[in-house]
Structures are given as C-alpha cells and as structure tokens.
Amino acid sequence: MTPTIPDTVATLRDIARDAGVTAHVHATRLTGPAGTTSLADTEPVAVASLYKLPLALVWADLVAEGRLAADQPVRLAAPNRMPGPTGVAMLLDDVTLSTRDAVRLMLAVSDNACGDAVLDLVGRDRAHAHLTRLGLPATLVRQGSAEETRAVLRDTGTDGWAAAQRVLADPDRAAETSQYDPALASAATAAQLGQVLRLLWSRPGPTHDTVRDALAHQAWRHRIGSGFPHDDVLLLGKTGTLGRLRHEAAVVRFPHEHPVGVVVLTRAARPERHLPRVDAAIGELARVAVGPLRLADDE
C-alpha cells in the first residue's frame, strides 16, 4: 500500500478546520495497484442514510446467491410508510414496485420507504450475518430509516419531521440526538465504507450492476461531486444526511483511469440545514484525497 503523503493529511485537516467540520476520510483505488489516503478513517461515526449502501451490497449478494428474487414485488401501503423527503416516502398513495426498483430508489434518491422495505425483505439478522461473513461489522445496518426518524422525534420532543429538523438546526441551542452517536445509530468507519465500495466493485454480474448503476443515478452532485466538476468524470455515490451529519461514499471514474472509491464523513459545528460551504468542503476533501491515487488504467 502506498503510504498516505503527510502533506495530503495536513491539507485535509486544514480544509476541515476552515469549513468548521470534524472529518473522516478514506480514499482507495478499486482496481490496479493498491493505494489509500486516510484521515481518522478508523473512528466509528453515525452514518445516517449511508446504511443503505452496505444494505444494497447484502441484497445484491443474496440475489446473486439465489436467496432473493430481484423482481419480487414489494407493496408499500401509504399508512404503513414513515413519511420522508424523497421518492415513495413523499408520495400520498399506495405503491407497488419490484425489489430491485426499490433498491434503485433507495440509492438514487435515498428513499426512506424503500430503504425500510429492503431492510425488511433482507431481514436484519440475515444482513448482520452476511456483513459478519464479509468481515464488516453488523453495526453498519443497525436500523432502518423509520427507526432513525422515530428516535430523532423522541430525542427532540417533536411529533413531525419538520419540527424535529427545526430543533436540530436551531443556532441558539446545541441540540443532540442519539442518532449522532455511533453507539446507538447505524455506524461505520470511513475505512469500512471504503471496503463496502471495494466489495461492490469486485462483484461481476447484473444484480451488482443494478446497484452500481443506481449509484450513478444519484440525484445530487453537491458534495463529493462538487470536487469533480467535470462532465466526463463519472460519479457513483450515496449520501447520508442528518442534522449536523453530512456524508457521502462515492466512486470517482476518470476516463481511462482506475476507479477510486472515496468516503467523506463529516460532522459540522454549525447546526443549520443548508451549509453549501460544508458541501463544497466535502468535494474539496474528496478531490485532495483522490488526487494522489489517480492512475491510468493501462499502467
């Protein structure tokens, strides 16, 4: 493994300090000679919606092993869904779709209703057993989105998501929630999520292609993508957001270069919901971490 260049780590620290965030960074070349950049990448962090990434890996593995059917219909009845900001979770009526489409919505727009449905289908015990077999900790998927939402409502003493977000974003208080705590929420280190990307990219086959393609369709490119404002650079990513937590795990594909997986997990000092400077800093952290790992794929 190429040792991380000290200057790179110092630059990562400076970017984090300037943006007012605590940052955990792990970047790794997914094919070709091994190479890694890291900043505090072995410290557990609550990952918010990033649980959906390892969940998608487990789902695809189970389908590839013939234990689950990708086209199995999933019925998401409106009264049983926890309302959320995107996808099926923001719809009004009952929805039926295939499991693989649920996986695609769960990844491309971080649909909470689909995330919960996929977790139900895979089963928490089976997910944990599989993650353990892969050498990954079960805490990667400790709970789904509905449970996360319920915990935040409880911790903030509110009865709706909008009110809960106002409490978490109040600049005049330091609101805490159990969902910031890696001991209570779905949790991972940046290095472990890098390993999830590595495994996902090492699997051939149509089901894993479906997952990779869904990541390429992620609806926003304001975080890691902001560090790579190049139309010919493909980004396949998944964000995770809750209050002060802003995360993303992504694969960066420059044409004719080895793909590089990069994970940036941040906790902002500022509580506000809209912090473009922090999103841009995540792009900057990713760019600096990926830079030394770029390598032509004919080498």
Partner: protein
Amino acid sequence: MAGGYPPEVDLLRHLGFFRAVADVRHFGDAAADLGMTQPPLSQGIRRLERHLGVRLFDRDARGVRITAAGQQLLPAARDLLDAADDLVSAARDLALPEQVRLGIAADLEDAVPGLLRDLAAGGTAVAPTVAGSVELVDLLRDGLLDVGVVRHPGVHDGLTAGEVLVVPTRLVGADSTSLGHITLPVAVPPRHHQPPAHDQLVDALRRAGHSGAVVEARDAAQRRALVAAGTAVGLVPVVDGAAEPGCPPLRLRVVLPHVTRRRPEVDHDAVAAAIAAGLG
C-alpha cells in the same frame, strides 16, 4: 544572650533592618518604613551585630553613620534579601494552580473586564488568556487552560461544552439601527478565530439585508479604530444594557477539558456556572 542561649537572630529579618537603617540613616524613620517601633528595630540591629561580630553603625550625637565593615557587608546583605524576594515570588508563581486558567474569546470585547470582575467578586481567582476560539480550544486540549469561553458554533472534539449562551449585540458607528440600511462593512474578528461562527455571522448579516461585507480586524482596538475612522460599523456584545433587536447575537459556550483530564484543584463546574450566569 541571657541563659547562654545563642543570639536570637532571624538572619533575613534582621538583614532587612540593616538595609532599612542603611538606606535612611535614621532609626526612627527606618522603623516607620518597616511599620514597627524603634526599640525592637534597635534591638534587632544589636543582635545582628553580635551575631556577625562586627559593628554595623556608629551612633552619636550627629546621628547614625554606617561603619566601614557595614559598608562592606551591605551589598551581600542586599543580594541575600533580593534572592529571598525572588524565592518568594517564584513560589507564588508555582502556587498559580490555585488560580483558574481561563481562556476568553476575544470576540467578547468590552464584556471581558466585567466578566473577570464578576468572577473575582465571587471569589474565583483567574489567570486570563484572551485569544481566538480555535486557539483557546487547542490550549484546552493541550491542558494549558482549565476553562474556555469560546464562540459558538465551533469544533471542540474531545472537550465538553455547556449550553449555548446567547449574548445580544448592538451596532456602533452606524447611521441606522437597521442592518438592511447600512452600506458600510462590519468590523469583525479574523475569520480564523472561529471559521464556522464567522460564516454564520456573515450569513445572518445577509439574511438581515446587509451585503455581508466584513473587515477582519486583528483585535478590538483595530476594530474601534476602523469604526472611529468611519470605514466600518461595529457589532458589539451587550451583556447588560440596550441591545438592538435584529442584530445577530454573539453565541458562546463554556468549554471544559474532558472529565478525566481536569485539574482536581479547580471546581470547573462552579466556574462554568458563574460564567454562564455572568453572560446570561
């Protein structure tokens, strides 16, 4: 000495008598300088002379004159007394742990003296450091401060922070009380003192209709100078008195070392509570 006991000489004390008399050449005046009466001073000098085996002063009708021997011994006496003073003050410095090493965000400006006076009135001895919040957090992490009052929001991983303290502010040097009508930039501390708090203030200025233009000035004196020169307006905390509605407040938090890394001789929670009460 009666009873055959050795002379009761307290060497440093009696050398102090020697120096005092040598300085003013008058027993009465020297006694007054030392805050004592003349008889014990004279007695002390006699004991010292007996102990040293030389006469230090000649006393006659014309007054007090230092002897040749006294003149020769005087520099060594002064050196000994100075060394003793140094020892005492060095010991006092070592006793500083009794004081609370308090870091205060420079952003508090004119509220700093009042805060320190409140703490002193409450019986808390403080060794203050006024600096930028990021620097204070580093000092807290390195164990060089006991308590910090830092600007919020900021990163303070590994430390424990209290509730957010919201201190109202008012404009100075402005021709309007409405930020939306002010065209001058706002004089503020350097961004690197606490980047997220700085950014939050700029966003709040824009939200209020101001351009968000700021001048980063290294300290309060520089900010006051800019305001006096009419090139910027000031935004200063108001701990008690007239705040202006619509001005973004100064947010602070009292930050302490992690529980396991606190000096046991300091009552951190009591100091934190006193500060919160003073600013609240």
